[in-house]
Symmetry: C2
Subunit: 278 residues, 2 copies
């Protein structure tokens, strides 16, 4: 059964989601934060107020409130996460209850694949808290003669060396910690399952790489202050294996914007990256 | 105000405590388990049933149901964890609700210090599940002319090289993950707090070292099967810094018993160790 392109505009159910200080701490260690980042990894360090990483919204309410039920049936094994953005309307409190609602914002026909885009808007006490957007690339779908959608590179780095580069090494067990924040897909833990997907061993969650990237951006371009971190976006281009080192190259392009690429050695793993910062 | 030696026999309130599969997974990564131990670090690996590390009872219901309120007042900063044992009456299920009750089983007068021992017994569906015992060494107490209690070395290794030695390296961030299983004492995370205790930097939780030790014992002497892990005991002798490597030396002494010492290089950190195994 093909996808239903008329699903654009469909809304998921408004869904109440809660998180605790412990959830924020667990996410922090899941994306590699450590003893140099006690504002994010502890709640009781003297003189230090707990803060929440700006990319935490990607795990809040994990798997709940999805609007994808409306788009028709497809093989989830052929779905790949394409782009992801997080826009913070204000910093995420260390604990809270928000209401999120997801919308199918676009369905594009790439011929032998489809791209589906969503926006998830979260409110806290009736006021906007964050908006996540994501695009999913679904192989084997498409072909309904629809719009191919936007294309061409975005957020291209200027033709000069990066203004900043930060390298963090992931641990061999990184995915086993990260998955406790919600995404239990065995692609990231079960060797036999990963082999069925064509991987020599389980791969790191793309959103874990995204979190490492957000840490580098926060500390380098926002003075470590989540209030200065307004918006991040990027595109997943290559899987990462737990244990690999991630280097985030950043270029400040003015007007509170920077573009970035995250790479493993010379292999880009997130490209077309943009940060809007204070 | 001194301690009250008549508190021996005092019972804490029976306390209902619950744990989830996620709690067991979080404990597993907190004691360093990784991709070679998917039965303990994942719940959805094909063909692998989730299991629970036998030392998990030391964090179940952390801080609840204590009987120590009856022993009088003392300076908690002068309390040091001495010995710890865990006896499993059956393997711990991956999730459950147990009732635990703690008893003050002994108070000993060392002159310039006191030793207080406790036993915590847990039942599941009315049947014994596990029993933990612990001893606390409290400097600045004692002197009431009471019994000095048992002394002299126990579980002394035979005069030969160990039958088995296993080394695990802790990570620099180990305490930040382990603490999410319950013990948020800033001695293990806040550099200024640790400095007040005379440490150059935060030290690892003794019970985290204990968990690493239990992993080594389980995999080496119990075929990785918690059902073969009957009882473990040991004495904390020296602090461990996150990032240090722990070596567990084991001697099989027959009759389903082995003795062990855990060390960092040549420095014992848990000694007088005994495992009863199937």
């Amino acid at each position: 059964m093909p996808l239903n392109p008329d699903a654009v505009g469909s809304m998921g159910e408004p869904t109440e989601v809660s998180w605790t200080s412990k959830d924020a701490l667990l996410y922090a260690v899941g994306i590699g934060a450590g003893t140099d980042e006690l504002a994010f990894t502890t709640e009781n360090t003297d003189g230090v107020e707990q803060q929440v990483f700006p990319t935490f919204p990607v795990v809040i309410g994990w798997g709940r409130g999805s609007a994808l039920g409306s788009i028709g049936s497809f093989n989830p094994a052929l779905l790949v996460h394409g782009q992801q953005s997080v826009t913070l309307h204000r910093p995420i409190p260390v604990e809270g209850t928000a209401v999120l609602q997801q919308e199918v914002t676009g369905m594009y026909d790439k011929g032998k694949a489809a791209v589906v885009t969503t926006a998830t808007r979260a409110t806290l006490d009736g006021e906007p808290l964050y908006t996540n957007t994501a695009s999913m690339f679904i192989r084997g779908e498409g072909g309904w003669g629809g719009d191919r959608g936007p294309s061409g590179p975005q957020n291209v780095p200027p033709d000069r060396s990066p203004d900043h580069s930060v390298t963090y090494r992931t641990s061999p067990d990184q995915a086993l910690v990260y998955r406790l924040s919600g995404d239990r897909n065995p692609l990231h833990s079960d060797p036999a399952f990963a082999a069925m997907g064509g991987f020599d061993r389980p791969i790191l969650h793309g959103l874990c790489t995204y979190g490492f990237t957000g840490r580098a951006l926060l500390h380098t371009l926002c003075d470590g202050d989540p209030a200065k971190f307004g918006h991040v976006e990027g595109r997943f281009t290559s899987p990462v294996l737990p244990g690999e080192a991630l280097t985030v190259d950043m270029w400040e392009i003015g007007d509170g914007e920077s573009v970035f690429v995250t790479r493993v050695d010379d292999r880009p793993v997130i490209d077309q990256g943009l940060l809007r910062h204070g």
